[in-house]
């Protein structure tokens, strides 16, 4: 219906000259339709293959069920032992049919659904051992052995454990199917640059060279698989799962027969940042950090190519599998400002992911983007980037750039700083949100802060409470009054944070703003007891912004208030705790802010600033 409406719209205006906007819209429409045709073609091919598989694979167990049921009905099995045997066959074959149906369902969920990954650190060695144990009885029946080995210390992977378990089940099941009786399947878990790899090797017949390319296609089955139970979906499902994780799966024939499937999944932020990994993993983690801050599902680091186009050098999250290599070779338009969506389209991301231009955001690295760019996209189901969030972009860009500018390897303290920052972000520090960055910038501007100071202030907002990640969790989550010792520990977070973030805080004024944001106008604050104008203006602004978000969003020990009551509280403290000018500034702003800044959402018990 929609399409028809827009078609009529164009027809009505066909006699007049098309405006530039109409041309752009028509172009978009054509691209959308082309995309739809491609999708339909793919679905059609899938359907054809599905029918071919269904006609053979489903009928095989059905043949046995029908024949045995018929034998039972016609009294061909009078002997009780024989009856039991026949009924057993019917049950086993029905179970086999059910497995196939489930596999089809798994596949369609992954292929057409938009399953959101539930990522957490996953110990792949443990998961591989657990999976191999589940095959114990089946393997033993054919005298087969499954060995799980870890190549030294292996970091955990950032993955959805349920999905990865399913991938491992498919790979192990496959390996055992093709391994001979008495054969051996070896699972090796090892670390590679930025990923954790799992090799599943069998000593079966291996895979003919011609099949290696197509083996991950849905419903594709090799001749070797002709006599083996299956739907031709197992490996396709593995491929989907691994792609969803931004990883990759490959297959090769082993040195002496047998096939080796290798799945590589991204390592967790924590392990990469603390482990001794190469620069590629650092890039991966910076991307992940950026994606986490912006709630993006996809992050692509682009380098400037000699032809003035962007070259993807690192991907995180969703990545189109089929044509990725091709697109990588031709690159994409360099995203500048609102052109982020064009870069995404060039990379083939809009075909599956977000189409709305407000779901794409780009960060330029270096002056005029001379160090490249980062393209960030939100999932179609997520909210679009809001104006306030776009204001956070330059802050993130500066952080990313500073870290990416490092040589081939970031020093350990920088890694630690990034790790702390990621952890603080995960704990959801309320005053380090895009809305807080925007409020601080508005307030600073109103108070006449210069450009450089405003930039520093935005960095400071984002980083000021990272030290909380280092305060004992029980204290952070405490309800009610804190003991003097606990209060002291909370107060110490400022210095803790500064120590931890030192490697990222190359600008002394950012550090000064953070250091002094708990000072009081009357000199009764900490850590240095500064008073009045001696406190840097950025720190005074930060103090008020911090208070505003603490009051309106609440703390672990106190529910949030509405905007009016929060403002009354801040005004009450003007001239004692807060700079009266900053208080006037926020008072003036609040009327306008009432529309854009959330007043009093329910308190989040896990957050505190």
């Amino acid at each position: 219906m929609n399409r028809q409406t827009s078609h009529c719209e164009y027809a009505d205006r066909a006699d007049g000259p098309a405006t530039a906007a109409e041309v752009v819209r028509l172009g978009d429409e054509v691209r959308r339709l082309q995309e739809e045709i491609r999708t339909l073609g793919r679905l059609n091919r899938l359907q054809e293959r599905f029918v071919a598989v269904a006609s053979h694979e489903f009928k095989t167990p059905l043949t046995s069920i029908t024949a045995y049921a018929e034998a039972l009905l016609t009294g061909a099995a009078e002997d009780p032992a024989r009856r039991t045997e026949f009924l057993g066959v019917v049950r086993d074959e029905a179970a086999r049919l059910l497995r196939m149906v489930n596999r089809i369902l798994d596949f369609s969920r992954l292929e057409y659904g938009s399953r959101l990954l539930d990522r957490a650190p996953v110990d792949l060695v443990g998961l591989a051992q657990e999976t191999s144990r589940s095959f114990g009885a089946a393997a033993a029946a054919r005298g087969q052995t499954v060995q799980v080995e870890a190549a030294g210390w292996v970091p955990s992977a950032e993955a959805d454990a349920d999905l990865v378990r399913q991938a491992l089940v498919n790979l192990l099941g496959n390996a055992l199917k093709f391994a001979p009786d008495g054969g051996i399947v070896t699972v090796t878990v090892r670390e590679t640059a930025g990923t954790v790899a799992v090799d599943v090797a069998d000593n079966g017949p291996g895979i003919p060279a011609a099949d290696l390319q197509r083996i991950f296609s849905a419903f594709y089955r090799t001749d070797e698989a002709a006599g083996v139970d299956g739907t031709g979906l197992g490996l396709s499902i593995v491929n989907h799962i691994v792609n969803l994780h931004g990883g990759c799966v490959t297959v090769a024939n082993g040195p002496d027969r047998g096939a080796v499937f290798t799945v590589a999944l991204p390592q967790t932020v924590e392990t990469v940042l603390t482990g001794a990994a190469g620069d590629r993993s650092i890039v991966a983690n910076l991307l992940r950090l950026l994606a986490e801050f912006t709630g993006a599902a996809t992050a692509v680091l682009l380098q400037n190519g000699p032809d003035g186009r962007g070259r993807p050098v690192h991907w995180l999250g969703f990545r189109p599998s089929r044509s990725a290599a091709l697109r990588e070779s031709t690159g994409c338009a360099l995203p500048r400002g609102t052109r982020a969506v064009e870069a995404a389209r060039d990379l083939g991301l809009d075909a599956h992911g977000p189409r709305d231009r407000n779901r794409w955001l780009s960060l330029e690295l270096g002056p005029d983007g001379e160090h490249g760019a980062v393209l960030l996209g939100r999932a179609a189901a997520a909210a679009a980037f809001e104006v306030v969030e776009r204001r956070q972009v330059p802050v993130l860009a500066r952080l990313a750039e500073r870290s990416l500018a490092g040589a081939d390897r970031l020093p350990e303290p920088t890694l630690e700083a990034l790790r702390v920052l990621a952890q603080a972000h995960r704990q959801g520090v309320p005053a380090a949100t895009p809305a807080a960055v925007a409020l601080a910038a508005d307030l600073g501007e109103r108070l006449g802060m210069g450009r450089a100071d405003l930039a520093a202030l935005q960095d400071a907002v984002l980083l000021h409470d990272a030290g909380m990640a280092r305060v004992e969790e029980e204290i952070v989550l405490a309800r009610g009054d804190l003991s003097p010792d606990e209060q002291e520990e909370i107060d110490r977070h400022v210095e803790l944070g500064l120590d931890l973030l030192a490697p990222l805080l190359v600008e002394p004024r950012v550090a000064a703003m953070i250091r002094h944001h708990h000072e009081r106008w009357d000199g009764q604050g900490h850590p240095d007891g500064l008073a009045g104008q001696d406190i840097p203006l950025g720190a005074r602004v930060l103090a008020v912004v911090d208070a505003w978000f603490a009051l309106t969003r609440g703390r672990s020990y106190r529910p949030g208030r509405d905007a009016a009551s929060a403002l009354t509280e801040i005004r009450r403290c003007g001239g004692t705790q807060f700079d009266p000018d900053v208080v006037t500034g926020i008072t003036d702003l609040v009327d306008g802010l009432a529309e854009t800044v959330p007043g009093a959402p329910p308190a989040d018990p896990a957050t505190v600033s």
């Binding site: 095989t60 069920i65 024949a67």
Partner: protein, 129 residues
């Protein structure tokens, strides 16, 4: 009931191969089984069947190729070949017919009807002799 015959069942699906074997044995025939096309060719020489019930989709050597090999050998000229397949398309049926199968039965099938068909074909053949 037809004359006792030697029947070779070639199917990699054990449950269905077992049931066919039992049914034919109950009817007084002598039965052997093979799990794939290669196994079938070996059993041809040692068992010398009158009838081969041949599945099509099998590992190593499929039913079409096995049928062609059987038909190439004059020794087995009188052997009846009955093809079984879950492939419902006419192409498969045609390929099997060209290879030299005498009958084509689609899976899933009724055991009773398959047995009746085999015995009918055996009767026709013995009548022709």
């Amino acid at each position: 009931m037809a004359l006792p015959a030697r029947i070779l069942i070639v199917d990699d699906e054990k449950p269905i191969a077992n049931l066919l074997a039992q049914t034919f044995e109950q009817d007084g025939h002598v039965v052997a089984s093979a799990g794939d096309g290669i196994d079938c060719m070996n059993k041809m020489a040692s068992f010398r069947p009158d009838v081969v019930v041949m599945d099509i989709m099998m590992p190593k050597l499929d039913g079409v190729e096995a049928t062609k090999l059987i038909r190439r050998n004059q020794t087995y000229a009188g052997t009846l070949i009955i093809a079984l397949s879950a492939r419902a398309d006419d192409k498969t049926r045609q390929r099997m017919q060209e290879a030299g199968a005498d009958a084509f039965v689609r899976k899933p099938f009724s055991i009773a009807r398959l047995v009746a068909r085999v015995e009918e074909m055996l009767a026709v053949r013995s009548g022709l002799r």
